[in-house]
């Protein structure tokens, strides 16, 4: 059976992007198209999610070629949850960019680029084919390249050259890995690959070796230690509307692919991979948070925290129990929302004070108590203060770890959580509580601009509060998604024998 629904999250941004390109000169019209396709994407993600929740894994064979020969699109709970979170942030960032982005950048293809980027994200999340996943990753990547350099200011260019080079290498590794996998099992379809890998005798270590190619390649994209260098070098350089979306979503797509491949295909030599992942997770968390402690710039602190939180997610993968994977999924959703939101808040603050440096900021607590409240909710959520969303993810991961007797890693994760709190309070102290330095000028924004800037932030905070205070549905969904992920038979059956 073919489900058109599966194509919608791809088609909607694609149509939007193409229409926007048609009207290159008319930015207002582009906005309209972008808005429409954002809404359409969101709706189609919701529809897809509901369908998957109802019927289990859905697949579509593009062009109606039978499973291993054509390209399959597969939607399971995990991909739907990530897609949904992604389209929510996409919508929020779009709202923000209406006022939060300068006009020249808007005029030079920002809207179609964002939509292409979302196309890449949707594609990577839905691809049921290894090479197809690679292609979507490339789409996503080139969009990131362009978005990061969009505007061409000096720090942007500096950051982007590192970003481009390192990610280019990673793509090469990914491609080589795909080549190896094809050389070993002779297929590209993920489900069939998972099946063939099981019956491939005597090749375990070769498969593991191929897994290493993917680990490195996707590790670079997910920004784990010691492969994360490009992220803190570049993520704080573009305008907030861009870096918020990249920070919130793009690295998580790397994590998504890692989780997908390491639950479906590279599950043979679990001892080695889990050890590796544990080490990587611990180091990533720690180095990231320490890096954040050293920073004195709003966005740089947040950038390093991305790395640290990726470590948390990898930790969930390393534990490899349903509980841990569920924690991972919850944590991913939480992180996508919260991280995007924190970036947006830094953007709102910067719109008022024209700076991201902590030493130039201050006094927001008095001037904009509402913004302070929004920040406090997001920041404490990031630090895992209960009952905010970060706590639930942290708790699930810690519990899974303690049940597995992985005390060292859990210990590190708790320490990291304390240091995260330290960084967040640093921002709070410096930006919100501290008295405003005299020399800082405050830009006067019109009430409408101000409201438009606040609106997406409020929207995301509401989402955060929802998954915080009413965590049960998401926890439950994450758990179901985790069961689906860990039992690869379900996936194989859904794709190959329908």
């Amino acid at each position: 059976m073919n489900h058109l629904l599966l194509l919608l999250p791809l088609l909607m941004p694609l149509y939007g992007a193409i229409f926007s390109l048609f009207f290159w000169r008319n930015v207002e019209l582009q906005k309209v198209f972008a808005l429409q396709s954002q809404v359409a994407t969101l709706v189609s993600c919701i529809l897809l999610f509901m369908a998957v929740e109802d019927k289990g894994i859905l697949t579509t064979q593009v062009g109606n070629w039978p499973a291993p020969y054509g390209i399959s699109l597969v939607a399971d709970m995990f991909s739907c949850i990530i897609l949904l979170a992604g389209s929510v942030t996409g919508f929020a960032v779009f709202m923000f960019s209406l006022q939060g982005l300068d006009f020249p950048r808007q005029a030079y293809g920002y809207y179609p680029l964002m939509l292409f980027l979302q196309l890449g994200v949707s594609g990577a999340c839905l691809a049921g084919d290894l090479f197809n996943m690679f292609v979507w990753f490339e789409v996503l990547l080139i969009c990131c390249f362009v978005l990061i350099t969009l505007g061409g200011s000096r720090p942007q260019l500096e950051g982007s050259i590192k970003y481009v080079t390192i990610n280019f290498l990673a793509s090469s590794f990914l491609l080589a890995g795909i080549g190896i996998m094809y050389g070993l099992v002779g297929t590209l379809n993920l489900a069939e690959m998972a099946l063939l890998v099981r019956i491939l005798e005597g090749h375990e270590s070769l498969i593991t070796m191929a897994g290493m190619f993917f680990l490195v390649a996707l590790g670079v994209k997910a920004a784990v230690f010691p492969l994360f260098f490009w992220l803190p070098a570049s993520y704080h350089t573009p305008p907030i509307a861009i870096s918020a979306f990249l920070a919130g979503l793009v690295t998580k797509v790397g994590v998504y692919a890692l989780v997908r491949l390491f639950t479906l295909i590279f599950v043979l030599d679990t001892e080695l991979t889990q050890l590796l992942l544990s080490v990587i997770a611990g180091l990533t968390m720690f180095i990231g948070v320490v890096g954040a402690a050293a920073q004195t710039d709003f966005r740089k602190i947040l950038s390093f925290h991305i790395v640290s939180q990726i470590g948390y997610m990898i930790m969930g993968l390393a534990f490899f129990t349903p509980y841990a994977i569920a924690g991972l999924i919850f944590f991913m959703v939480h992180n996508i929302l919260v991280k995007t939101n924190l970036f947006l808040i830094s953007g709102v603050v910067a719109r008022h004070y024209n700076s991201f440096a902590l030493k130039d900021l201050g006094g927001v607590y008095l001037k904009q108590p509402f913004l302070a409240l929004l920040f406090a909710i997001s920041a404490f959520s990031l630090a895992g203060i209960p009952p905010l969303s970060g706590f639930w993810g942290k708790y699930m991961l810690a519990k899974a770890g303690l049940e597995l007797k992985a005390y060292a890693l859990v210990g590190v994760s708790l320490l990291v959580s304390l240091l995260t709190l330290f960084s967040m309070t640093k921002i709070w102290n410096e930006v919100f509580w501290k008295k405003k330095p005299d020399e800082t000028e405050v830009a006067l924004l019109s009430p409408i601009t101000n409201r438009m800037l606040h609106m997406p932030v409020v929207m995301l905070v509401l989402f955060i509060l929802f998954i915080s205070l009413y965590a049960e549905p998401l926890v439950h969904l994450a758990y179901r998604a985790a069961i689906q992920l860990l039992d690869s038979d379900i996936y194989i059956r859904a794709v190959l024998y329908q």
Partner: protein, 771 residues
């Protein structure tokens, strides 16, 4: 109960809005909130005293077994009444203390939010529900301590309190998970019946240590006590509330709560005895050396908390009853003392004991309250302090082990209380003085009524012990021991060792007071010693963290692209080697060599050509030459494709190669000429790394090739390509038909590239355009 707590939270959140409406009358609804709750809990009191417990459970996150589960027994109602009663008075007081403060609405928000979290904490019947409220108290106290947020000292103190208690909070989380796993339940009432199961668990000791860490950080036990005196940066009503009945008592509550589950073992008691003793003595000693009224009270709070921990450590029936009695007394009296200190500060603008004198006339109601509460605090008949102190002495004397040591510790702490009582109750107000301190802002009713009420309460508890205190304490200590006990409190002393000791305490206390001034003069000289205490460890930890993180980060994130890439490649090579180490199938070299010999001449020529150009490329200094060489290599590769049956790929490669070279020349022709920028040494390093990487890739390739491929896909496309795809060129069929989606992506990439290049070349954002 959920309704009560939710209503409270809503009221607290609406307080800024209420402030706009009500102005200075805001204190009325805010004080009514705890008062209503107080009445509400009083309604439960009779049945709880008879031994009933109330539970109410609301499903919240059942998948994680974390539910809003409330549990009301003797212990929780004891705390709940304390919190709400003192809360009411503090709310009223705060209305007077902070009149006209622009952020009063927010202040009440934090304060009542804090109170509700504290209430939630003591009422929780699910240990994770408790944990959530525990963390909320940390956060709301952070906001309260940092209330004077433009003052750096406030921010410092708030951060310190948050980090120390936050560390405890994380320990608590881990500990509770361990307990939950061991006892297989998160429900307090279930866990209470599974003491043996938990204590026999392999992880009993770690869990216990984690719980203790949490309690010690929260209750400011040595060596985590330092945050408490600093937290005095908060407005006085906050200090009064946090350090009497709430925040710091949360740790005590935790210990009392888990005493029946974890307690009764030496592992549990020993740390409590040690930490309690050190804190009690150190707190007393430090308190006597302070001149700031609030600091005196803060350190004496540490001392009192030490006594409480010590009593739990002793763990006998008598000790626990004494603990609860002292807790009640301390909550009542310490709160009063803080409020008085606040009033004095408010009225005179200083809190320095050396400067304040002769206030008896100008602040009469406060003076009366201060004197009476000092009597109670020092333990004078017929106040409740007297009963409590008798109990403490009795408990230490009856302790199973180390009785003399614990006796001395209680004695020291009590002597300090007597000295403080003299200072506060006598010296500030009644000692004859030539120049009484000027009172600038006379204290209104809101400032002196609450202390007076509290004094009255401690007198009442003292006069009617068997009616008021005994049942309450018995039901509470019943919960702490999970069995009913009977300890009768009497006001009229029996002639005993304890009474003798009380008298002895007074004598020593008076003597100590006489020497107090001398001690105050010596104190500054001892400062260097204190500067090496736990607080300096904290500071060193923070500074170390910051310095270390800068060092580490600048090492890792050096900014040099080549080191990044070197690291990534090294990791990759390492991982691949790791995965193949040992069990990996070895490369069968002999067959490989055979294959290697089976090379046609023109292939060899191509290879030689490519290798040659690569080396030429390394040597050349001219850009144009290198581009040309690059082109040669590209074309050679294309030829190679052609030779191995891939004409399409080859054609594409030709095209792309040409395009790249053209683009290259067009775009980059203006770059300055080459210079060899690398150092020789570094170059060798990179050559080795590159060779390693190249070698690894070759090895991998050969290894994979060793296993002949049976591709299902190839066969399928070979068979059906024409029939289904209507094309003779299979590659083309695959691209445009079977894998059309890939091609869509490919086109997208090209389109975006075009966009990006255009933007790069045309769009030049304003200088330093950041936003």
């Amino acid at each position: 109960m959920l309704v009560a707590i939710l209503a409270g939270l809503i009221v607290s959140l609406s307080s800024p809005a209420l402030y706009k409406m009500l102005g200075k009358w805001l204190f009325v609804p805010m004080a009514l909130l705890p008062f209503t709750l107080f009445i509400y809990f009083c309604a439960f009191l009779p049945s709880v005293l008879q031994g009933h417990t109330f539970t109410s459970e609301y499903r919240w996150v059942p998948s994680l077994y974390i539910n809003l589960h409330f549990y009301l027994d003797g212990l929780s109602i004891f705390f709940a009444l304390l919190i709400t009663a003192i809360g009411t008075l503090v709310m009223v007081y705060a209305g007077g203390y902070l009149t006209g403060h622009p952020l009063l609405g927010r202040f009440y928000l934090y304060l009542s939010f804090f109170m509700m979290s504290m209430l939630g904490l003591v009422l929780s019947g699910n240990i994770f529900c408790m944990f959530i409220f525990w963390e909320l108290t940390s956060i709301s106290s952070y906001m309260l301590i940092g209330f004077g947020h433009e003052n750096a000292a406030s921010r410092y103190a708030a951060l310190q309190a948050l980090l120390v208690t936050g560390m405890g909070g994380l320990a608590l989380m881990a500990g509770l998970i361990l307990i939950g796993n061991a006892g297989n339940s998160y429900s307090l009432s279930t866990l209470l019946t599974r003491q043996e199961l938990i204590q026999s668990d392999a992880l009993y000791l770690p869990a216990l240590l984690l719980i203790l860490l949490a309690a010690f950080t929260k209750s400011a036990q040595f060596p985590f006590h330092f945050w408490l005196p600093n937290a005095m940066a908060a407005p006085t009503p906050v200090s009064a509330f946090l350090h009497s009945a709430t925040m710091v008592k949360a740790g005590i509550y935790l210990l009392a709560r888990f005493n029946p589950i974890m307690g009764g073992t030496p592992e549990w008691q020993l740390p409590l005895l040690i930490a309690g003793s050190i804190s009690a003595v150190a707190g007393a000693w430090l308190a006597l050396q302070q001149t700031d009224l609030k600091a005196i009270l803060a350190y004496s709070t540490i001392s009192a908390l030490g006594i409480l921990v010590l009593m739990i450590g002793i763990g006998t029936d008598k000790a626990l009853a004494a603990m609860l009695a002292f807790l009640l007394l301390h909550a009542l009296n310490k709160c009063t003392l803080f409020l008085i200190a606040g009033s004095i500060d408010h009225a005179t603008g200083t809190r320095d004991v050396k400067l304040l004198q002769g206030l008896g006339k100008s602040m009469r109601p406060i003076a009366i309250a201060a004197s009476l509460v000092s009597l109670s605090y020092a333990g004078v008949f017929p106040f409740f302090g007297f009963i409590s102190k008798e109990l403490l002495y009795e408990a230490t004397l009856e302790a199973e082990s180390n009785a003399p040591v614990s006796f001395i510790i209680v004695f020291v702490s009590k002597v300090a209380s007597v000295v403080i009582a003299f200072v506060l109750g006598y010296r500030l107000f009644w000692r004859t003085s030539t120049a009484p301190t000027v009172v600038r802002h006379p204290c209104g009713r809101k400032l002196y009524m609450p202390p007076l009420v509290l004094v009255f309460l401690s007198l009442l508890f003292g006069l009617l012990p068997s009616q008021l205190a005994t049942p309450l304490l018995n039901s509470a200590s019943g919960a702490v021991l999970s069995r009913g006990i009977q300890v009768d409190l009497h006001l009229l002393p029996k002639f005993s060792m304890a009474l003798l000791n009380t008298i002895f305490t007074f004598i020593v206390g008076y003597l100590a007071y006489a020497q107090h001034n001398r001690l105050l003069n010596v104190a500054p000289r001892l400062l260097p010693l204190y500067n090496t205490g736990p607080e300096s460890w904290y500071q060193q930890a923070i500074t170390g963290l910051l310095k270390g993180s800068v060092k580490l980060t600048s090492m890792i994130q050096s900014g040099y692209l080549r080191s990044y890439i070197a690291a990534i490649v090294l990791v990759h090579v390492g991982l691949v080697i790791l995965s193949l180490w040992g069990e990996g199938p070895a490369l069968n070299i002999s067959t490989r060599l055979d294959q290697l010999l089976d090379v046609k001449v023109y292939e060899l020529v191509l290879l030689v050509l490519m290798v040659g150009s690569v080396f030429f490329l390394f040597r050349t200094r001219s850009r144009l030459t290198s581009i040309a060489t690059m082109g040669i290599i590209g074309f050679s590769v294309a030829l190679l494709y052609l030779l191995f049956g891939a004409p399409d790929v080859s054609a594409t490669q030709f095209l792309i190669e040409t395009l790249t070279v053209v683009l290259f020349v067009l775009v980059l022709h203006r770059l300055p000429p080459f210079r060899f920028l690398s150092h020789r040494y570094r170059r060798y390093k990179y050559i080795i790394l590159s060779a390693l990487f190249g070698g690894m890739m070759t090895y991998v390739l050969l290894l994979v090739k060793q296993f002949p491929l049976q591709s299902e896909l190839k066969a399928y496309y070979g068979e059906h390509g024409y029939m289904l795809g209507r094309g003779r060129n299979l590659v083309n069929v695959i691209i445009v038909d079977f894998r059309a989606l890939d091609t869509l992506g490919e086109i997208t990439v090209l389109a975006v590239t075009a966009l990006g290049i255009m933007a790069l070349l045309r769009l030049r954002a304003e200088k330093g355009g950041k936003l």
